[in-house]
Symmetry: C2
Subunit: 448 residues, 2 copies
C-alpha cells in the first residue's frame, strides 16, 4: 500500500484519483503536479464559453484548487512541471518557476492528457489561428472574437471540436466555413449520422467543404485567408481541430510502454509495465468491451472513471478501470448525434465479426403528440451470434437514447434481447415501440 | 398450423397479432371480432385529446379499419361481440346488430383488454361523471368540458389517468381537485417520485387531497359535488380513474384459467390452458423478469409485443411473448416520472431479495450548461448478489433515462456493471457521470 501517491496532471483522471485516495485514506500523502494553472476543468465546455452560453471561464472548473487543497487535503502544486520520471528509483523531477526538485513516490499516476494535433501546414503561428486545447486558448478565442469581430471563420476539421465551434462562432455572428478532408464529418459516427448532420449544418448556414484539404493559412501577422489546393478563401479567424494525440513523451522517456494505438498501454487496473506506475485519461489506452482490444478514446467519463478506480486500487482495494464502448454524443446546432460500440463495418470485420446493420427513422414521440422529432437510428450486429456491436442515433431530441444501446453493449446482449427490452412508453416521450426497439426489430428481421 | 386465426378484441394486442399473421402468411384467414367501432387506437393519447394537444380523436387511431381490411387483408368485423367461446368444439358465438352466428377457429386469441374499475359509490350515473375507458368516453369528456365550461373538477385517483387528466383539465381552465386514498399519488413509482410530483402538482395549482376517500357524487341529474367522509366539495365535472381490471368473464366462462393476479394465465408463448387459445394484452398476465412470477401490468408495449409474438407463433415460428419489467413513464405537467422493475422494498422482500436502495438528485446537464434540470433517481438492488432490481426517475427532462435502467434489468446486470456502463457525455446532454451512473455509484458504496 502506498504512503505517497504522486499524480502527474491535474485534470479529470488525475484529480479523480487524488480525491478518491484522500477520501479512502485521509492519512496518505497525495501530491498532484500540474504544469499549468488550471485544474479539474471541463474542456468539453470550452465551445460553449466561446458561444456565450457559459458566462465565465471559471464556471467550467468543477472543483477549485482551494477546494482540493483545503477541503480534500490534496497537496496540489500548480506551475509544477514534471520533466523526468525515474521508475527504478521511484521519484520524479519537478521544475517550477523557482526551483527544480526530486519528488519520491510509492505509487505514480501518469495523467498527462492529450494535445491538439498541429497539422503540418504553414501559418499556424499567425494571429487569429487557434487550436482549442486548453482553457487559455478558449479565453484567447473568445477575446479575439469579441475584440476583432471577425466576419468569416475557417474551421479545419469536422470532428467534435469543429462542429461545436461552428455552432459557437455562428452564434457569435461569424460566417463559418468548415473544411473536412474526408468525405463526411463526424467520421466515428458513420455515414447515416453524418448525412443528417451535414444537411443540418448547411441549413444553419455553415459552408461545408467536404473532401477538401487545407494546406495552410496566409496573412500579414494576422490570418487573412485559408489556402486550399487550388484556391484561397478569405478568413479572419481560424480554428484547427483535427484531433488530439496522447501526451506520452515523459512516460516513454522513462521506459513506460506504449500500446498499439500510440497511447500508454495499461492493464485492467490501469497499471503500466511498471508495477507502481499507473496511467489514465487521455494519455492512456483502455480496453474496448466489444473487441476486447486496447483502444484510445480520449473522453471525460473514461478519464474520471479510471482515475477513481486507480485511487481505489492504490489504497488497497483493487478496482478495474472498466472497459469502454467509445460512447460519445455531440450537439450540432439543434441536433444531437451519438454513437457507441463498433459502428464501422470494416472495423467489425477486422475484429472477427460478420456485421449486419440497419438504419431506421422514427418519431421520438407518439405520432399524434406535438413536437416530436425524427430520430435516425443505426444498429449493427454480428450475423451469426446476433451479438449487438454498436449503434448511432441522431435527431432534434432523443440522442441520449444511445445510452440504451450502450447499456445493452455493456451487458453483452443480443439484438433479440434488446428488442425485448421493456422500454418506457407514453405519448409525450416515445411511440409504443421506442425507435431503438424498432431498429432492433428490423435488424432482427435481417439476421433471421 | 392454423388455417383460421380468430381474434377477440381489435386493439393493440389483437391487431398486432392479426397484422403479423397476415404478413407472415397472407393465405391464412384472420378474423378480428371487435364489439365496438374503434380499433387500434391509442388509449394513452386520450388525455391529450381532452387537453387540446391532439386535435381530432381520429388522430389517435394508428391504423384505420380500412387499412386493416384493404391493405393488410384482415377480416375485421366491428360491432361483432363474442358472447361465448367453446374451446372443446373450437368456435366462438358472435352477436351483431343483425344476427348471431358461430365462428370456428383453429387458433384463438383472447385480447379483450381491461375496463376501468367502477368504485362502489353513489352518483356514478350522474351527468358529468366520467371514467376514461374508451374513445367514446374521451369524446364525451371533451364535449362536456367544451359545452358546459365546468369550473371545478373532482378527479378521483392519483394514478396515470388521474394525473394526466389533472393536466388536461387545468389546461382547459378548470380548477382541479385530485383525490387519492393512499398517502401518495403514483403508488407504483414509490415515494421519492411521488413527493416530487406532488410538489409540482401543487405548484401548478392542483388541489391535492391525499389519504382522502371519496364516498360518492351528488347532484340533481348533473354532478354538483363530491362527497368525502366529513365534507362535500363542489365539482361540476368528475373523472374516476381508480385503476383497471382485466376483462376475463368471457374467457373464464369458457374454462380458461386465470392466474394469481386475476388476469388470464399464460405460458411464455402467451398460451392459456387450452393448447390453441392464446391471451395477450390488458386481459392477460405476463412474466416479470425480476421475480420470474406472473404479473399483470396492462400497458401498450406489452400488448403490442405479445400480440406480434403470438402472430408469429401461430404461423409456425414459436416466439416467446417476452418478459416485462413493468416499465412506465408519465407526464405530470412539466415533469416526467418513470419507473421500472421492483421499486417497493416490501415487494422485493416477498420475492426473496434483501433490498437496498438509494435516491440521489443530479443535474441532467453539465453544471455550467444552461437549462439543465434536477433529475431524482432511485435505484434498488439485492444486497448479497448486487443484482439490480428496479429504479425510478423524475424531473423536468431526462425521464426517458429510465430506459437505461430497464435495459440493465433486461440483461440481468449488477449495480457494478451498471456503474461501469459507458454512457454518453457532452455538456448539453449530461454531466460527466450521468445521474443514473451517479445513483449506481452511490448504491454500490452502500452495498459494499
Amino acid at each position: 500500500m502506498t504512503e505517497t501517491f504522486v499524480v502527474i496532471g491535474g485534470d479529470a483522471a488525475g484529480m479523480s484519483a487524488a480525491s478518491k485516495v484522500k477520501r479512502e485514506d485521509p492519512d496518505l500523502d497525495v501530491i498532484v503536479l500540474e504544469k499549468g494553472e488550471w485544474v479539474s476543468y471541463a474542456a468539453c465546455g470550452m465551445p460553449y464559453y466561446v458561444k456565450g452560453d457559459v458566462e465565465d471561464l471559471d464556471d467550467l472548473v468543477t472543483v477549485t484548487p482551494e477546494e482540493f487543497r483545503d477541503e480534500r487535503g490534496v497537496d496540489l502544486r500548480t506551475g509544477a512541471e514534471v520533466v523526468d520520471v525515474d521508475p527504478e528509483n521511484e521519484y520524479v523531477t519537478v521544475e517550477t518557476a523557482d526551483e527544480t526538485y526530486e519528488q519520491p513516490y510509492d505509487d505514480l499516476l501518469v495523467a498527462t492528457g492529450a494535445s491538439a494535433i498541429e497539422p503540418p501546414f504553414g501559418g499556424l503561428e499567425l494571429e487569429g489561428v487557434f487550436t482549442i486545447h486548453d482553457m487559455d486558448e478558449a479565453d484567447a478565442i473568445e477575446e479575439y472574437v469579441t475584440g476583432r469581430g471577425p466576419e468569416t471563420a475557417a474551421i479545419v476539421g469536422g470532428g467534435y471540436v469543429g462542429i461545436e465551434m461552428a455552432e459557437a462562432l455562428s452564434a457569435r455572428g461569424v460566417d463559418v466555413h468548415l473544411y473536412e478532408m474526408l468525405p463526411h464529418v463526424l467520421q466515428p459516427f458513420g455515414e447515416a449520422v453524418a448525412e443528417v448532420v451535414e444537411d443540418h449544418l448547411r441549413a444553419r448556414g455553415v459552408d461545408l467543404h467536404l473532401e477538401t484539404a487545407v494546406s495552410g493559412f496566409v496573412g500579414d501577422e494576422r490570418v487573412e485567408a485559408v489556402e486550399l489546393e487550388d484556391e484561397t478563401v478569405p478568413a479572419d479567424v481560424a480554428i484547427v481541430g483535427v484531433g488530439v494525440a496522447p501526451n506520452t513523451d515523459l512516460a516513454e522517456a522513462a521506459g513506460v510502454e506504449l500500446g498499439p494505438t500510440g497511447a500508454i498501454a495499461t492493464d485492467e487496473y490501469g497499471r503500466t509495465n511498471y508495477e507502481n506506475v499507473y496511467a489514465a485519461g487521455d494519455c492512456a489506452e483502455a480496453t474496448h468491451l466489444v473487441t476486447g482490444e486496447p483502444d484510445h478514446v480520449p473522453l471525460a467519463l473514461t478519464a474520471n472513471r479510471a482515475g477513481r478506480a486507480i485511487g481505489q486500487t492504490v489504497t488497497g482495494d483493487p478496482t478495474p478501470v472498466g472497459e469502454i464502448a467509445g460512447t460519445a454524443i455531440v450537439k450540432a446546432f439543434d441536433l444531437g448525434a451519438a454513437r457507441t460500440g463498433i459502428v464501422d463495418e470494416d472495423r467489425a470485420r477486422e475484429a472477427g465479426f460478420d456485421p449486419v446493420s440497419v438504419t431506421i427513422s422514427a418519431s421520438t414521440r407518439a405520432h399524434y403528440y406535438p413536437d416530436g422529432a425524427e430520430l435516425t437510428v443505426t444498429l449493427i450486429a454480428d450475423r451469426e451470434s446476433g451479438q449487438l456491436l454498436g449503434g448511432t442515433v441522431v435527431g432534434r431530441e432523443g440522442a441520449k437514447r444511445i445510452d440504451t444501446v450502450a447499456t445493452a453493449l455493456t451487458a453483452g446482449t443480443t439484438v433479440t434481447e434488446l428488442q425485448n427490452a421493456d422500454l418506457a412508453y407514453a405519448p409525450p416521450f416515445s411511440p409504443v415501440w421506442d425507435p431503438i426497439l424498432t431498429a432492433a426489430k428490423v435488424l432482427n428481421g435481417k439476421l433471421e
